[in-house]
Symmetry: C2
């Protein structure tokens, strides 16, 4: 097991009827900016619940944060925060709203240049507005981690940053608010959480038995309850199980002391930037391709996945069986496409995508051995 440091300060407030608690979680005197997305929170009653809870408090709002939140949009909120002396950000929505809000939180105080440098040049933010969250879509784990992924339209980029300053101070997760989610968002969310687990698990054995078993625990629960959430959208316990899995998949815990991959995510971000695919869609297409490409190096963990998660006892090639079973889960149980060609995408831009990793001097994977050449090979395997 590798050495690690782990601290997660976010207060999780989980369960039915918990949105009203937002009032006691935000300092009374703070001027709040509520951020949200395309307006689904106005249709499902969440907006109403939040506004009612904060009645009489100084409250501004900023809607219209896109899926794959854009720098261009977020900078307008930054301007608003500076002008109005906002003191607290309340993100009401899914991972995109939350990620965007994390960027607003640090960009508001960033005065050493363009805040985009935090993403493109790994500039370190030194101050952030405090963030609270009402999570309406379980998927990214952003409600309890220090990560955010931001897109920039003008340069066709999608990049990530991390800062302990942007852990939400609290996250309210009421699974009842997930009842009305569109099927596609539920599919994407389950796929995202599942792949988060795999990015931290499916590498090589590292003498971390309890982290392995925790990862397997989340994966098995998503496999059992993910499809149920699609079939029974108003089943509270099913929604609660999926929501908790999504948080646990990327709150840092299962990544303690183990090697991590993240190839699927990093290539996936490019597919979203180039083709506009949903984040979850990119992951489902890429994960099996990454595993096939890296099968020799990942064999032991693929076999462990076969045995402990997929209950495959007898197979000639257990590693291959695990990959097939995972593809089948995405395809049949979640009803998602697993090939780029199904989205009408061909190999035309693969070299251009791969060149970006070269340009950034970025090598991917737990061995840092996947470069531009291998990225093209992986993309071809996903056609």
């Amino acid at each position: 097991m590798e050495n690690f440091v782990y601290q997660n300060p976010t207060k999780l407030v989980f369960g039915k009827g918990t949105i009203a608690k937002v009032a006691e979680l935000i300092p009374v005197e703070s001027k709040v900016l509520m951020t949200y997305g395309g307006g689904s929170i106005k249709r499902n009653g969440v907006y109403e619940q939040v506004v009612r809870a904060l009645k009489g408090r100084p409250l501004l709002e900023f809607g219209g944060i896109e899926p794959n939140p854009r720098y261009e949009t977020l900078m307008k909120a930054v301007e608003l925060c500076r002008r109005e002396h906002v003191r607290f950000l309340l993100a009401v929505g899914g991972g995109s709203v939350l990620d965007g809000t994390k960027f607003i939180a640090v960009a508001t105080f960033y005065d050493a240049g363009d805040p985009w440098d935090i993403l493109s040049k790994h500039a370190t933010p030194t101050r952030a507005l405090p963030i609270g969250c009402v999570l309406t879509l379980p998927a990214t784990g952003s409600e309890s981690n220090p990560f955010a992924v931001i897109s920039r339209e003008s340069t066709c980029e999608k990049l990530a940053f991390s800062s302990p300053l942007v852990y939400p101070t609290f996250s309210i997760i009421d699974p009842e608010t997930h009842y009305s989610l569109p099927r596609r968002q539920v599919q994407n969310g389950i796929a995202d959480a599942f792949v988060h687990v795999m990015e931290q698990y499916l590498t090589y054995p590292a003498n971390a038995p309890v982290q392995d078993r925790f990862a397997e625990a989340i994966a098995r629960t998503l496999i059992e309850y993910g499809p149920k959430a699609l079939r029974q959208p108003r089943n509270y316990n099913v929604r609660a199980a999926v929501a908790l899995c999504s948080t646990l998949a990327l709150n840092g815990l299962i990544g303690c002391g183990v090697p991590q991959d993240w190839t699927t995510h990093l290539i996936g971000h490019e597919l979203t930037a180039f083709y506009g695919l949903d984040h979850g869609q990119t992951l489902v297409v890429l994960l099996p391709a990454v595993w096939r490409h890296q099968k020799r190096l990942k064999r032991k963990k693929l076999e462990q996945l076969a045995e402990r998660v997929w209950d495959i006892k007898n197979a000639k090639d257990k590693a291959e069986a695990a990959i097939r079973q995972t593809e089948e889960f995405f395809r049949s149980a979640l009803g998602m496409k697993t090939r780029l060609s199904e989205y009408g995408i061909g190999p035309e831009k693969f070299q251009q995508i791969a060149a970006r990793f070269d340009a950034r001097g970025q090598k991917l994977g737990e061995h840092k051995a996947i470069g531009a050449k291998q990225v093209v090979e992986i993309l071809k395997l996903s056609l």
Copy 2:
């Protein structure tokens, strides 16, 4: 799943050679009181490492905190903290040192009466000295939770309190410092962690699938690595796995949104108070007795334990098989006694022990249905 709130602010610093980091984790100007136990930290080099790391800092020390830390001893440290204006407590040791230090932390500022009221009358502390920890014995989970158990010699009591104020700000866990632990402490520690898991798991099905699987993950890892720690005391990865399991067993996570039991612990505390048995010894004797007594109500989870943790596929009475297998684990794999009679204890004081729960108006178990009469029955089953 039940609603829950979860927040765990402790920073875990885990791994080889991490004790030196204590210097950067404590504010430079703070006057520190280092607390410890019977002096094992002077023999295994931990004392030396801490003192070296804090060289030049204002540092006092208070040794001699007993296993089952005593109110009478701790009040001497409280006096020292008040007199010397101590600003930071550094607990160096196992769960007893840490629990004792948690009491010192709140008692120092408690001026509404005798600090014992925090335990006996559930008085709420409103202020505490910050606590840091260098953990030398994995067992209680106290390094990452808000709980402490304190004994009072004059009244023969052993009581618990909980306050969010006493979460350690950091806990350093260097598994190499566990190499020299006496066999008995390792046995007790593994048993304690295992029973912590069971107190939160072995109740009734509660639609909490990922919490169940996390609990099973810790239990299985302890079953595999606990006996290895006894056989290979200097195997780093084994020690690391056991240490991480101990922390995860009682950092609050697996208890989120589920019913909890704690009968074994609460009767166990009385056995320690009356007979002086080690905490771990009491748990191993009582757990199977509690399960046998509550078998009808716990049947479903006992069967789940049989299938998922003990890999029992075919048994006439799966619940009974799970109990036997657990007893066998304590007895053969950990080498511990599983009967009170093996400690020369008979039923003479059972009524007196049970009467205490009556006197406190305390009912035990996940159904709050275990009273004095049932306590006597459970104790008889453990003879």
